[in-house]
Symmetry: C2
Subunit: 454 residues, 2 copies
């Protein structure tokens, strides 16, 4: 698909993508136009959906000729969405998500039709210079906001090689994978208030202070309160939930879980390993994780990833998994190429290259498990995959693995090396899918920079 | 303090209490009056704060005589609250909480002044029959709603005797308390969407289905997916956070944490012990907890509990606690008498009597720890204390302890016994403080009934 807008062939935000986000003008003018609202990214541009719908409503309300436009527009963009068109004027995507997958599909496809070089409806946007100048602007001229009001955030542990590597480090290879791991997607409740995006540039991550056990071998264990010395990133995929209101609180069958997925983001689950090691027994991670979690600001719709389905890691257990987790299809993951850059000073080094096919549990399985006992999911809930690592050198999605818990230097460009993150370091996650035909659908960047402890 | 309203001397909702909640009429009339809004409980009555403020605004807008009333009212109830008077017309207490402790205090004291037998302002409410009949109704004629939009829910583990008893059960007395327990308030992030109140009567708790390991000793561990056989309650105290907007995201000093506490509720952290035992390694409880958590619907303001300060359990560690957790005052807890009734069929048995003085960590300490690393608290966040148990027989706040993990029958009235909860069982938590002079401040009931698995 080609667009009448100029889009680089290596752009993550191709016409095949159309990811959704919440934007506001970078330069504030002190009036209503400053408010955050919905947009889609397209190449270096954004299409402001509020402006598009405002224009549509204004036109639609005056006379016969525009009633044809009205009708056309609602056919292209979707009647249900137009009916509830003000979902795009709101400061989050929650209400749009709650319209359900069919509405997301119709809006995405409608926008693709309007932006296609050979659009059959050039009068709607392509040839309307006023609307184009009103609703389309450069991506660098907007700042980004959290795409959703996140009711609850759950972080899973579905990256098999990460779970194995961390288990091996602390318990040896024979006991690396714990007995429940092959039977259920292990997860924990994260802190919703910790989720943030970079408004522009990098999200600011303040090094957390916490209790640390400097000498775990001492007879009387005496912690110290200090800035974390083992600040780490975690490369994850995030999944935003959509629940049509009539299905609130229901148990979700694994075969129907796709209908509860709005879309995906990259997720950096910043972690303080020294705080985590001391605090996590017996109830799991707490202050080691709740200081910051960064997501990429553009949400790639589930439909946009469908062409890139692939098999994940097969279940490693000796016995079959429980019925409620069995999927009919083999290709329950996506093949998203994932990369991590660590920027130290002026030099960027790609320290990890892996793929989301390293997940052993799929998001539909996570959803089926999450709702099995009666836990209600809500639109805007965020699920994290857990750290994604491959089995080989240079494929690990955390410094804990790359530096073997600080015992091995990770070499960087410019004669630098790291075990864990230093103040001033910047971590950039990237992810994209690419077909044999060259179609690219990507996530853009998830970028955060470390600042000294307060 | 005596009121011109008839209040039983053993009522939890005395004039010294004035707890806040969100109510709507039990019988809906299909119009604006059906909407949830703020109220306080007083004896068997509620005072509808929306109606009170609506009346005040209507009166205040017409003429000289009522301007005096206007002035009087804002002096009694608090200028700031009147300025933002519509906080009480909203469907949650979040915005009221964000006004800060001084505003809560002024409103509570203002309401006490209006309701006192010897009120100096009888013209405002006592002698105004129209307002009385509009704004005051019987508690049994309203249904209750969640008092807050809960952004995040954290559950701590601060009940020392509970932690010891559970630790002893699984690891023996020597290792019952884990090394970090005496140094930090261990806690985990719970599921905000799991929190509910009983609209009237009992909250309906559906027995959760989950993965259970029926034979943990088998060489190959093979779980079963089935309704929980070890459904339990947990007796806890809940604490609602208030954060003035200008302090959002700040680290909270332990000495200033009181200013971040709106008030308290009873909390039943329903738990499926068999699901928990299998799932919780290594990231903590998940489906064993996220199916339901019930709170009592009336929030007792922090000020109402101030007269009942008491010492908690002294820290048990061999070394002093970290500076950021040190409190100046010794009486960092409240002496809240706590009771649990288990109703099986027609018979109620009080199976636990204990006190909140069995907490080893105070809520100010939990808040200081929670925010140490940079985690932002928000108004409406809920903190659970963890299960509160005393050291003696009949003082345990869970069936796990009372039945020693199902190995001992808990005897009930009517020739019944339990190890864990059966379908149809009802659990009622109660809590109250009472002074030597007979002043009583209580929480009412936190009531839930178990229904069969779906």
């Amino acid at each position: 698909m080609r667009s009448w807008l100029a889009i680089d062939s290596d752009s993550d935000f191709s016409l095949d993508n159309i990811p959704f986000g919440i934007v506001s003008p970078l330069i504030k003018r002190g009036h209503w136009d400053d408010e955050p609202r919905a947009a889609v990214a397209i190449g270096e541009y954004i299409l402001d959906l509020k402006k598009l719908f405002d224009y549509y409503y204004t036109q639609g309300k005056s006379g016969h000729a525009v009633n044809k436009f009205d009708h056309l527009f609602s056919c292209v963009i979707g009647y249900d969405t137009c009916k509830y068109g003000d979902v795009f004027t709101r400061s989050t995507l929650n209400d749009f998500a709650s319209l359900g997958r069919a509405a997301h599909r119709q809006v995405r496809e409608g926008i693709q039709v309007l932006l296609r070089e050979d659009t059959p409806y050039p009068q709607v946007l392509k040839d309307d210079q006023l609307l184009r100048s009103t609703a389309i602007c450069l991506r660098k001229d907007v700042e980004m906001h959290l795409p959703f009001a996140i009711g609850d955030y759950t972080d899973f542990y579905a990256g098999y090689h990460h779970a194995f590597a961390v288990g091996e480090m602390f318990r040896g290879a024979a006991n690396a994978i714990q007995p429940n791991y092959n039977h259920l997607p292990v997860g924990y409740h994260g802190r919703a208030s910790s989720i943030g995006v970079a408004a522009c540039g990098s999200a600011a991550i303040t090094r957390p202070v916490g209790q640390i056990l400097l000498d775990p071998s001492a007879e009387v264990r005496k912690p110290t309160t200090a800035p974390s010395r083992k600040l780490d990133f975690e490369l994850e995929l995030g999944c935003f939930i959509c629940v049509p209101p009539d299905q609130a609180g229901a148990r979700v069958d694994v075969g129907e879980a796709d209908e509860h997925i709005f879309g995906y983001v990259l997720l950096n689950d910043w972690s303080a390993r020294d705080i985590q090691a001391w605090e996590y027994v017996p109830l799991g991670p707490f202050n080691s994780k709740n200081f910051a979690t960064t997501i990429s600001p553009w949400v790639v719709l589930a439909d946009a990833l469908e062409p890139f389905r692939a098999k994940g890691i097969p279940n490693q257990g000796p016995t079959p998994i429980q019925d409620y987790l069995k999927e009919d299809r083999e290709e329950s993951c996506f093949d998203i190429k994932l990369e991590v850059d660590l920027i130290a000073g002026d030099n960027a080094t790609t320290i990890c290259r892996t793929s989301s096919t390293n997940l052993m549990w799929s998001f539909p399985q996570m959803i089926a498990h999450h709702t099995l006992g009666g836990c209600a999911l809500r639109s805007g809930d965020l699920l994290g995959s857990g750290t994604i690592s491959g089995p080989n050198e240079g494929e690990s999605g955390s410094l804990l693995e790359l530096s073997r818990n600080g015992t091995k230097d990770v070499l960087l460009a410019g004669m630098e090396s790291r075990t864990f993150l230093k103040d001033g370091d910047e971590v950039v996650l990237r992810g994209y899918c690419k077909s044999a035909a060259g179609v690219r659908v990507g996530f853009g960047e998830c970028r955060g920079k470390v600042y000294p402890a307060k």
